[in-house]
């Protein structure tokens, strides 16, 4: 399997406050990586660093061997290869569902209107939102918005897709539809990094689980390794807390 991303010694501080400390991990094609951990452990910041929405304080992020933190790499160009789905959807409020999915293809990739539309409809069908092409985001439910957001990211045909707590802002009855779409993507072989609190999803769908605690990768392995045979005390405590709640 070819390596897409190679994160080396990544650190990030906000002011004096270190959030990520010396993170190392790689992402290969077709992997579905779940990042779990308590709030404030640095999961989302790590994801945002990978997409350059935050500038890392130190370290390297190699994308196919090229360090994207060097000055010569244009961030927008790189971001168009790395899709991102946000907790709060971030659909463009001034555009219809269809336009949300075509605007990036047209302005960034320079596709024709017809090509962009056909492509957008293809991915909207995949997430079950094709009937809503004319709707504005404010007319949709949370789950529908998130599915459109996934289609918007997919329409750019990214090599890797990042999910930042995609179901955390949803009402409980809408979580399922979004997770179902994500599972379908995983089954189709999409490379994904998912920051999530959905332990069932992490366990059943991902190929690898990373447990983060206090800005470092505390434990990493297959879902079985982490959920069934956790080695570290912190991981055991975290999972126990979740079992109590759930």
């Amino acid at each position: 399997m070819s390596v897409i991303l190679d994160v080396k010694h990544l650190s990030k501080s906000f002011g004096e406050n270190p959030v990520l400390k010396d993170i190392d991990f790689t992402v290969s094609k077709g992997e579905v990586i779940s990042i779990i951990g308590a709030s404030g452990s640095g999961k989302s910041t790590l994801l945002r660093c990978i997409n350059l929405l935050e500038t890392p304080s130190a370290g390297e992020i190699l994308y196919h061997g090229e360090n994207i933190l060097s000055r010569n790499v244009k961030a927008p160009r790189y971001r168009s290869h790395v899709g991102m789905v946000f907790q709060s959807f971030n659909l463009f409020n001034n555009m219809s569902v269809l336009k949300n999915c075509t605007v990036g293809q047209r302005t960034v990739l320079g596709k024709s209107r017809e090509e962009a539309t056909a492509n957008a409809v293809k991915y909207l069908e995949k997430v079950g939102m094709a009937p809503y092409v004319n709707a504005k985001p404010k007319q949709l439910s949370g789950g529908q918005k998130q599915r459109v957001a996934i289609a918007r990211a997919l329409a750019m045909e990214p090599e890797i897709l990042l999910f930042d707590e995609p179901t955390s802002a949803l009402d409980p009855e809408m979580v399922g539809e979004v997770l179902a779409v994500m599972k379908k993507l995983a089954d189709d072989g999409m490379t994904m990094i998912v920051v999530t609190h959905e332990m069932a999803f992490a366990k059943d769908v991902s190929t690898r689980v990373i447990y983060m605690n206090d800005g470092v990768i505390c434990e990493e392995g297959t879902p079985d390794d982490v959920f069934v045979n956790p080695q570290k005390e912190e991981t055991k405590a975290f999972l126990a807390r979740f079992r109590d709640k759930g």
Binding site: S80, F86, N90, F92, Y132, V133, N134, Q139
Partner: protein, 278 residues
């Protein structure tokens, strides 16, 4: 007894006023209407130009640089921001009537007549850049009011700063600042009256000219007031229509080509007409 006397007196005054207005309209309606037209055109054009200036300044004020950018770029961005700030503070902080004097009389004075505007150009320039200074702050506020997530969503699909602004942020900003654009337009319709100082012949100038000749101060003021009010109310209605147009329809249509969309709501039940035909 006394009250009926008062009433008849009031009736007398009202009929006098009516007569005076009728006389005024017979004698000078073309001047008033021409004044109204020139007021309206000046206000609309200057507000539009002011909006464009304001949009440009608003974008310039939101320019950002990161630590890793080159020194020259940082200096350049800071200089632009200072220039915009000075422009906004000067033209927002001084009376438009004096700005008109500075542009119309001051420029020729300072440049020994090398640079001079005619009255009409000077009026358009003054009102435009004055409106631009206010709009710059309005646009800046409008941009700040757009959720950070919109920018991040655009950046995440690879748009650069300019594309993000043009496609995502500014359309939403524009929608949010229409009420403020309306404010500026209405203020401009009224405040262009200060352009009489450089001799621009708008509605208030027509009023001044007429009362200078006839001493019919109050009747002329009534007519002028009414014309101003009609212009501002019509403009504010048109701006409301524009808002509705931008908002688009409240509901949306499901694309019927998708079979999944055939829910019960889309089945055609026999209508009343057909039933009657049967």
């Amino acid at each position: 007894m006394y009250s009926s006397l008062m009433l008849s007196r009031a009736g007398l005054v009202a009929s006098n006023l009516g007569d005076d207005i009728a006389k005024l309209w017979r004698e000078a309606s073309p001047q008033y209407l021409k004044g109204a037209r020139d007021t309206l055109i000046l206000a609309v054009v200057a507000t539009a130009v002011g909006c464009i200036i304001g949009l440009l300044c608003g974008i310039l004020q939101t320019l950002k640089y990161s630590k890793s950018d080159f020194v020259l770029k940082k200096i350049f961005i800071n200089v632009i921001k200072v220039v915009v700030r000075v422009y906004v503070e000067v033209f927002r902080g001084t009376p438009m009537i004096l700005q008109a004097v500075f542009i119309y009389f001051g420029l020729p004075y300072l440049t020994s007549n090398a640079l001079r505007f005619d009255v009409i150009t000077a009026a358009y320039v003054v009102v435009s850049i004055n409106t631009g200074a206010y709009m710059a702050e309005t646009v800046r506020g409008g941009i700040l009011s757009i959720d950070r997530g919109q920018t991040e969503g655009a950046m995440a699909i690879g748009m650069n700063h300019f594309q993000t602004m043009v496609k995502v942020i500014l359309p939403q900003t524009l929608r949010n600042i229409i009420p403020q654009i309306g404010n500026n337009l209405i203020i401009n319709i009224k405040d262009t009256s200060v352009m009489f100082i450089i001799g621009y012949a708008e509605l208030f100038a027509a009023h001044k000219a007429y009362v200078g000749a006839t001493y019919l101060y109050f009747p002329s003021a009534v007519v002028t007031m009414a014309i101003y009010l009609i212009m501002t109310v019509v403009c504010s209605l048109l701006l409301r229509l524009w808002e509705h147009f931008i908002d688009g329809p409240e509901n949306f249509n499901l694309a019927t080509t998708d079979t999944l969309a055939l829910t019960s709501g889309m089945n055609n039940f026999p209508s009343g007409k057909r039933r009657r035909a049967r």
